[in-house]
Amino acid sequence: MGGLGAALLEALDRLLRLDAQVVEIVALSLRVSLTAVLLGTLLGLPLGACLAVGRFPGKQAAAVMMTAMMGLPSVVVGVVVYLALSRSGPLGALGLLYSPGAMVVAQVVLVLPLMAAISRQVVEDAWREYAEELQAMRFSWWASVLTLLHDCRHSLLVAVLAGLGRAMSEVGAVMIVGGNIDHATRVMTTAIALETSKGDLPLALALGAVLLTVILVINGLAYALRVWARGRFG
C-alpha cells in the first residue's frame, strides 16, 4: 500500500509540473487518435449513411459485414496493417511502418467499421421517417445522404465518441505497427503497458490519469452539446 501511495504521489507530481515525458506522450496520443477519428468521421459516417439510404444488391450482407467488423481484434488489425506497410507489402513504398502515420492507419481501420455501423443505424432510422418527403422533393440519393447526416449530426456524436474511445484505448495494433519507440511512436496506452511491465508505476499512473481525464472531458462536452442541441432544435 505504501508503494502504491508513493507511486500515486509521484504521478501527481509529474502531472502538476507538466513532466516533459508525459506531455510528449500525451501530445502524440492525441495527435494520432484525433487524426484517426477525423479520417474515420470523414469516411465512416458517409459510408454508413450510404448503406442506410442506398439500394443495391448485397446491401444486407454489407451491413452485416460492417457490424461484424466492429469487433475486429486490434492485434489482428495490427498484423494486417503491419504486413501491408512492411517493405515487401503493397504499401511498403510509403515507408510508414514504425511511424505515427502507421499508427493512424491502424486506428482508422479499427474505428471505421464502428463509426460506419453506428452511422448506418442512426441514419436508417431518420431515413424511415423522411424518405417519402425527400423523394417527393426530388432529392437525389446523395443529397438525401448529406441532408440526413446534417440532420442526425447530434446523434452521430455517439459514433464519433465511440471511435475516439476505441482509438485512444487501443494498444495492440499501435504497438505492432508503431513499435513503441521512445520519442517517436510511444503513446499513452503502449507507454502504460511498458512502464507497468518495467515497474515504473508513477509514469503509468500519471498517463492513466490523463487518459481517463481526456476521455471524461470529451464525453462530458459531447453530452453537454447534445443537451443544448435537444433544447435548441427539439
Binding site: 417527393a136 446534417h150 440532420d151 449530426r153 447530434h154 442541441a229 432544435f233 427539439g234
Partner: protein
C-alpha cells in the same frame, strides 16, 4: 396549359402483398383549380396521391402526366405529418430549393419571403420542431409552394388541426391556387371540401365512383355510394 396536364390515370390498380387498394382507377384532371378527393378510410385516397407524385408505381394500368415523362420537379406533395429537420424554420422552408440547385443565399432570401407569406416570419430562426401542428403544416405548404410547382398534392393537410389552424391552412391553399398551381387534396372534412373544391373525386373501395363539380356533387350526387357517404352512412364500414 403545362406539359403535366391533362393528368390521367388509366385503369390504375394497386395491389401490394395481395391486398387490393386500387381496382382500376380511371381519372382525368385538368391543370386548374382545386380537386378534392373524398372517400372513406381505406378507399385508397393517400395511395392515389402518392401515385400522382410518382412515389408509388401502379401494379396495373398507368399514370400519365400530360406530355411529361414523369412527375419531376413540377409536382410537390405535402404529407399529413410533414417532416421537420432538426434545424431552423428558415432552413426547413427553404429545404426543397436544395433539390433545385438554388444557391444558399437565394434560398435564404426566398425562404424569408415565403415565411412572410405564410405568417411565420418572426419564427425564422427558431427550431422547426418546436412549432405547433398548424404552424408545421403552414411551413410544409410554404416549403412546397416555394418551388412553384404546377401540381401540389396535399394529403389531409388539416387533419387534427384546430379551427384557427384549419382556417390559416385553407387561406394558404387558396393563395396557392390563385398563384396558378393545380391542387389535389384529400380530406375527411366535407365542409372544407365545399369551401375549397372546384371539383370532387369520390373514391370508394379502390374505384372512382364519381367525379363532378363541387356544387353538383353535394347537391345531386349520382352514385349511391356518394349519396350514402354525404349522409354519413357508410355501408362498407362494418368493423366498428
Amino acid at each position: 396549359m403545362s406539359g403535366l396536364f391533362p393528368l390521367a390515370c388509366k385503369a390504375v390498380g394497386f395491389r401490394p402483398n395481395g391486398q387490393e387498394v386500387l381496382r382500376g382507377v380511371d381519372l382525368v384532371l385538368g391543370g386548374e383549380g382545386i380537386t378534392v378527393v373524398l372517400g372513406p378510410n381505406g378507399a385508397g385516397k393517400s395511395v392515389l396521391l402518392r401515385m400522382l407524385c410518382g412515389l408509388l408505381e401502379p401494379t396495373s394500368g398507368s399514370v400519365q402526366w400530360g406530355s411529361a415523362a414523369g412527375p419531376g420537379r413540377e409536382v410537390a406533395m405535402v404529407f399529413q405529418h410533414p417532416m421537420m429537420l432538426r434545424d431552423t424554420v428558415l432552413a426547413n422552408v427553404a429545404l426543397a430549393l436544395k433539390a433545385h440547385a438554388v444557391s444558399g443565399r437565394e434560398r435564404r432570401t426566398r425562404g424569408r419571403a415565403m415565411l412572410a407569406r405564410i405568417g411565420l416570419e418572426d419564427r425564422a430562426e427558431q427550431s422547426a420542431r418546436l412549432l405547433s401542428g398548424g404552424e408545421r403544416q403552414r411551413l410544409a405548404l410554404g416549403r412546397a409552394w416555394l418551388t412553384r410547382p404546377r401540381l401540389l398534392l396535399l394529403d389531409e393537410p388539416t387533419a387534427s388541426l384546430d379551427p384557427s389552424g384549419v382556417e390559416a391552412v385553407e387561406r394558404i391553399i387558396r393563395e396557392i391556387r390563385t398563384d396558378g398551381t393545380k391542387v389535389v387534396m384529400t380530406t375527411h372534412n366535407l365542409g372544407q371540401a365545399t369551401r375549397l373544391a372546384d371539383d370532387v373525386v369520390f373514391l370508394a373501395e379502390g374505384l372512382v365512383r364519381e367525379h363532378a363539380p363541387v356544387q353538383r356533387f353535394f347537391a345531386r350526387p349520382v352514385s349511391p355510394e356518394a349519396r350514402l357517404f354525404i349522409k354519413g352512412e357508410l355501408p362498407w364500414h362494418v368493423g366498428f
